[in-house]
């Protein structure tokens, strides 16, 4: 009772304090508590504020269980915050929306459907119609290098290709925001590096706002305009670092770049608990 009251008071204070209007996504005083079967409820997110500009590529890094995925689920409208508000382009997020595309850690394709049927699922459910988007989806497939694979089934594709199908599917409704939850976590290191380059290419071509969760520091610095570092549970933002590396970034050049090395070292320092230089 008492705890809830203080949470509310603090949440409102924070919300009033940090209003920024130029952002596509605005999170204010987000609190998320999970009930557990045994014992104390777990505080997953503790008064978290963040903002993402239109067209920005933001990477979220943090230790496992820091609430990154919780944050993403809230943004996707799959879950509700216990306090605080999320807004997307000024509109409060209170459920799944066509303006948000989600890519999960697993490609989560439907194995009984072809690639084309999979990427057009978003146009056939939730009251959407296929006719006016068919050409755009074909363009997305071309950008993702999947043209010619429309009639293949997911099990005929490699893991990397399956994840690209999932990315195209997330973009099918032309959302404002693309959310990705460790999308390449299940891939091997080499494929992952290739997929990072692919994703950057798709992003440069589509210029969506992207929020990507990763536990790979190198991936975060390689892809992000900005890297948000989160603390261990309860999740708070401990630092936001702008990455000023030129685009398109190329793995062979970027990974050795002094800026990349410096930022990666700073993030590593933060995550290991020590103070960054």
């Amino acid at each position: 009772m008492n705890v809830a009251a203080t949470l509310d008071a603090r949440g409102m204070a924070v919300a009033a304090g940090s209003a920024r209007s130029d952002a596509l996504i605005q999170a204010q005083g987000i609190v998320k508590i999970y009930p557990t079967v045994s014992g104390e409820p777990v505080l997953a997110l503790d008064h978290l504020d963040m903002a993402v500009r239109d067209g920005e590529f933001v990477c979220l890094v943090g230790p496992s269980g820091c609430g990154k995925s919780t944050l993403l689920r809230l943004m996707a409208g799959l879950d509700r915050a216990d306090a605080g508000t999320f807004t997307l382009a000024g509109q409060r997020i209170d459920g799944p929306s066509a303006e948000v595309g989600v890519v999960f850690q697993q490609a989560t394709l439907l194995p009984w459907l072809t690639v084309w049927q999979n990427v057009t699922v978003p146009l056939r459910v939730g009251g959407h119609r296929i006719d006016n988007r068919e050409g755009a989806v074909r363009d997305l497939l071309r950008i993702a290098g999947l043209l010619g694979f429309e009639n293949k089934y997911p099990y005929e594709l490699s893991g990397g290709m399956q994840q690209r199908v999932a990315i195209v599917r997330a973009l099918t409704r032309d959302p404002k925001l693309l959310l990705m939850d460790e999308p390449f976590g299940a891939l091997d290191a080499l494929t992952r590096e290739k997929m990072n380059a692919e994703l950057q290419r798709i992003w440069l071509a589509s210029r969506k706002t992207v929020v990507l969760i990763t536990h790979s520091i190198d991936e975060a610095v390689f892809l992000g305009d900005r890297v948000i570092v989160m603390s261990a549970r309860p999740g708070r933002i401990i630092r936001e670092i702008a990455v000023n590396l030129p685009r398109p970034r190329i793995a062979a050049e970027t990974f050795g770049h002094p800026e990349h090395v410096k930022i990666a070292r700073e993030i590593r320092g933060l995550l290991e608990g020590g103070d960054a230089p």
């Binding site: 799944p96 989600v102 439907l110 459910v125 939730g126």
Partner: protein, 285 residues
């Protein structure tokens, strides 16, 4: 162009290995078929020897050739003949299939509703458990009282026996659907029916086919049991008639026909499954 002997290229080796794998598979299949036939012949031989050596009377256990003669007398007649197997087999089969269709459809619908709506599950699960553990064949006399001695009770019995494996399997199959795929549909604001059609039903398909496979054989069993309890036609009636005159060879002949029918029904389901479920679902990916 002349044939110059040369080192085999990698491509040749791959082709050769594929060819040898194929011929190996073919040989394995031939060997298995051979073992099957040899086993069957050995069984007939042991049967024949036992009957001859122990001098078992024909009204206890007829010799294999006696069963063959009975079998032939039922097969080698006009399909319209009252003495042949065709009319009773058609009666049994049509009732089996009708009952199976009704029972399996009901099982799928109610299993789906139970998987989809918690209150339906809570309300129906105790009865499903209770009826499942009840030997359903014991209900047959009651069904004959309700539906009479005609086709009605046979269809009802077949439907009853086909219903439960379908209920249990479709329920388990729907519940086994991958959480992430359901979450995906939620993120796409799909309706319940869309999620059912696109994710849950296909996820449950392997379970549903296992239920169909069991259900079709149970439906045949149910029909025969209903025929035993007093019917005018069907393979069950042929058995009871043969039993009445201690024509044991005739009983064996009908059992053979029913066994082959059961296997054929099972194979039809399996074949349908293989042509319908073409995908490989590794759960994730």
């Amino acid at each position: 162009m002349t044939d110059i002997p040369h080192e085999p290229s990698a491509l040749d080796l791959v082709a050769a290995s594929a060819a040898s794998a194929q011929s190996r598979r073919r040989r394995t299949r031939l060997t298995n078929a051979g073992i099957g036939v040899a086993g069957f012949l050995a069984l007939l031989l042991i049967w024949k020897l036992l009957v001859a050596v122990l001098q078992v009377p024909a009204y206890i256990l007829p010799a294999p050739e006696g069963v063959f003669v009975a079998l032939w007398s039922g097969i080698a007649v006009s399909p319209a003949s009252a003495l042949g197997y065709y009319l009773p087999l058609w009666s049994t089969l049509s009732n089996t299939l009708l009952g199976f269709l009704i029972g399996a459809s009901l099982g799928l619908v109610i299993g789906s509703l139970m998987a989809e709506f918690r209150p339906v599950e809570t309300a129906l699960m105790p009865y499903a458990f209770a009826l499942q553990s009840l030997p359903k064949v014991a209900i047959a006399p009651l069904i004959v009282i309700w539906c009479g001695f005609g086709d009605g009770s046979k269809v009802a019995m077949a439907a009853l026996l086909a219903f439960f494996p379908m209920l249990v399997n479709s329920f388990a199959g729907m519940r086994s659907a991958d959480i992430e795929r359901i979450e995906l549909m939620k993120a796409l604001s799909a309706t319940r029916l869309e999620t059912y059609r696109l994710v849950k039903l296909p996820s449950a398909a392997p379970y549903i086919f296992a239920g169909l496979d069991m259900g079709i054989v149970y439906a045949l069993l149910g029909t025969i049991v209903a025929e035993f309890l007093g019917a005018q036609e069907g393979m069950g009636v042929v058995i009871t008639k043969a039993q009445a005159v201690t024509d044991v060879a005739g009983v064996f002949a009908v059992l053979t026909i029913l066994g082959v029918t059961g296997i054929a029904l099972h194979l039809i389901v399996r074949w349908t499954q293989r042509s319908l479920i073409h995908w490989v679902d590794r759960g994730q990916h």
